[in-house]
Symmetry: C2
Subunit: 380 residues, 2 copies
């Protein structure tokens, strides 16, 4: 808050020079300074969960500062195209963006690691690594800090701000049973996932959200992945490509990212930085909570609309896992940034998927068995 | 902040009447008022994850207000015994407490529903219900709001502030294979879980954390459940009762609770209420993230120390599930509060454990298979 707006708000009219002189800096420093930032979102408003993560953050920050720290969220295309949100934050067109880092693998494949890559972590694993680190001991670092070493070289400070849960594998016009069925298949799938599916014979296509449905309908593409049931229902894919596969093994626990222009981040008062960290962690949790709530309903609706729900075959999963490991070795050989971050992820991954087999998996499996047996049913 | 401290802090000395007159209320209302609250924790400092949730909250709130809103966390026994933290918040001895609601089933069984009861939700399911609600439609309510109808009748406002993940089933001196093996078994297990295990023949024992190890060692008790690997390692149970069972089906996704004295909560400025909500949601996520990180290491250590890791038999799980359903019917018949909250939970539960079978479970299963096959291994 500058001095002029302080006085204006304080209702000091005509008190003039004396009051101005009397007010020393400490009183101003104590208050929450007036700051307005613009956030470029990569998402359209219609996708209220993923776009809504930015709004949730904005509300938390505004309320905690009595409206003094304002984050104005602009939907994809309002200020800049959705897939250029990071560029806008890097060059200072906006102070920050709400996006998914894997949209920017055109700049460097390393970007994808802060969001999701095939066969990495699930949502809880990703967050355990991001917020607390790898296996501890000498040199152990939080994932957030490992990633920021890379982000800082690229002019932004990054914080997790959303997670969609494990995504679905997408909508296919025809059934896909074998790797042979993937040959020449034109699929809307981006970034590293697209590269790896390319190794299996898929021809990856980059299409913005709004263009996917018409392309599927016309048969310009054969398949498309988006997020999960709640968003997929809105986009109406079931009508034109009813084979609905799972899991989206390329997005086991995708993080949605906030990137702050580095100079703008550095210029923030410390208490605003801390508030943003807290609010991003809360908004991150909130997005997954909202998806988990909404997807439970949407999956039933989609099946009732004709979705043919089926898992990818073991042949396809195994081929994709093998191709992914080859890809990670190639990228790690080419890029030190990639290697450092990927090594940190897989160091935690091996331990994490041991622990998940015990209490969590056993409990969930028992409850899912009850669900199938119909013993969790509620009348009405 | 009152007017006097404002001037003192602003360094206004001797400027006198003019400045005082010139400063209207809005300038003061803008600042973050100085408030110091005491939080009674139910946990000892040595359990740095669960006790640490209170400290995490305190740090977030203090930093965001430049130290003006201070939450002083007191470990169990420092102000009041750990299991009387709620009473202290209710009667205003402290402004708030950080505890687990199921410690208070002596007051009413309904308290347990805001933390964990057997065969309810897992961590993600619990949070989806708490923060977003049941299946939507007419009368749909967030779990937090459903619970607060009950809490408000009891003089407190409640917010989730931590989750441990699905807990372990505990440490047993002897192997437990059948329901017959449970007859007369003296087990440290509390609340509703104790009642239900009682239906299977267990003799439940209430013991504070520090008393469990010596009781197990002497054989005064035959078994004890606590939380999970990280805390269990600290408490050393493996040395005296090495049979380590899973899952803790009575705590699929236990919420750790903050309860605020109702009058104190109501007296807070709106922006502090909002900040507490945001920080509690962030601290809630953070505790699970920390457990997920630390448990991955501890489980290996415990096995290397001789823990005999094994799942509860289907016979025991099925008998406990049946006993739980009987118990819920009994409690729902006796208490409208219990019935309303439990109905809201199970309405969501049936849908949730359908959705989890698809993308999340399929991805996790594949990754756990890879872990078992050794393909996630990292050299060194």
């Amino acid at each position: 808050m500058d001095r002029r707006s302080f006085f204006k708000k304080a209702g000091v009219v005509g008190a003039g020079a004396v009051a101005t002189t009397a007010l020393a800096a400490p009183a101003i420093a104590q208050a929450n300074p007036k700051i307005t930032w613009r956030i470029a979102s990569s998402f359209p408003k219609s996708l209220d969960t993923i776009y809504g993560g930015g709004e949730t953050l904005s509300k938390m920050v505004s309320e905690a500062t009595e409206g003094n720290f304002t984050l104005q969220v602009f939907a994809a295309g309002e200020l800049v195209p959705g897939l250029q949100a990071l560029d806008a934050a890097q060059n200072g067109t906006v102070e920050a963006c709400h996006t998914v880092a894997y949209y920017y693998t055109g700049k460097a494949k390393t970007w994808a690691l802060g969001a999701a890559v095939p066969f990495a972590l699930n949502p809880r694993g990703m967050n355990a690594w991001l917020y607390h680190g790898d296996r501890g001991g000498e040199g152990s670092q939080r994932g957030i800090d490992v990633l920021n070493e890379f982000y800082h070289k690229n002019g932004v400070h990054g914080l997790p701000c959303g997670n969609t849960g494990t995504q679905m594998g997408g909508w296919f016009r025809k059934e896909i049973k074998t790797v042979a069925d993937l040959q020449g298949l034109k699929m809307r799938i981006a970034g590293v996932a697209g590269d790896i599916m390319g190794k299996l014979g898929v021809v990856p296509q980059q299409l913005a959200g709004g263009d996917v449905y018409p392309a599927l309908e016309r048969g310009t593409i054969d398949a498309a992945e988006w997020v999960g049931p709640y968003d997929d229902e809105k986009l109406g894919f079931v009508k034109v490509a009813p084979n609905y596969y799972y899991p989206g093994f390329w997005e086991g626990g995708p993080t949605v990212n906030m990137f702050f222009n580095q100079a703008k981040w550095d210029s923030l008062p410390e208490h605003y930085k801390s508030l943003l960290q807290t609010a991003c962690q809360a908004a991150d949790a909130d997005m997954l909570q909202k998806y988990d709530y909404l997807n439970t309903r949407a999956i039933r609706t989609l099946v009732s609309q004709g979705a043919k729900l089926q898992p990818f075959s073991k042949e396809i999963m195994d081929a994709a896992f093998k191709a992914s490991n080859e890809y990670y070795a190639e990228q790690s050989a080419q890029s030190e940034d990639f290697k450092k971050i990927w090594d940190a992820i897989i160091k935690f991954r091996a331990e994490y998927f041991l622990w998940t087999q015990i209490a969590d998996s056993q409990f969930d499996t028992y409850m899912m068995q009850q669900q199938r047996a119909g013993t969790l049913k509620v009348d009405g």
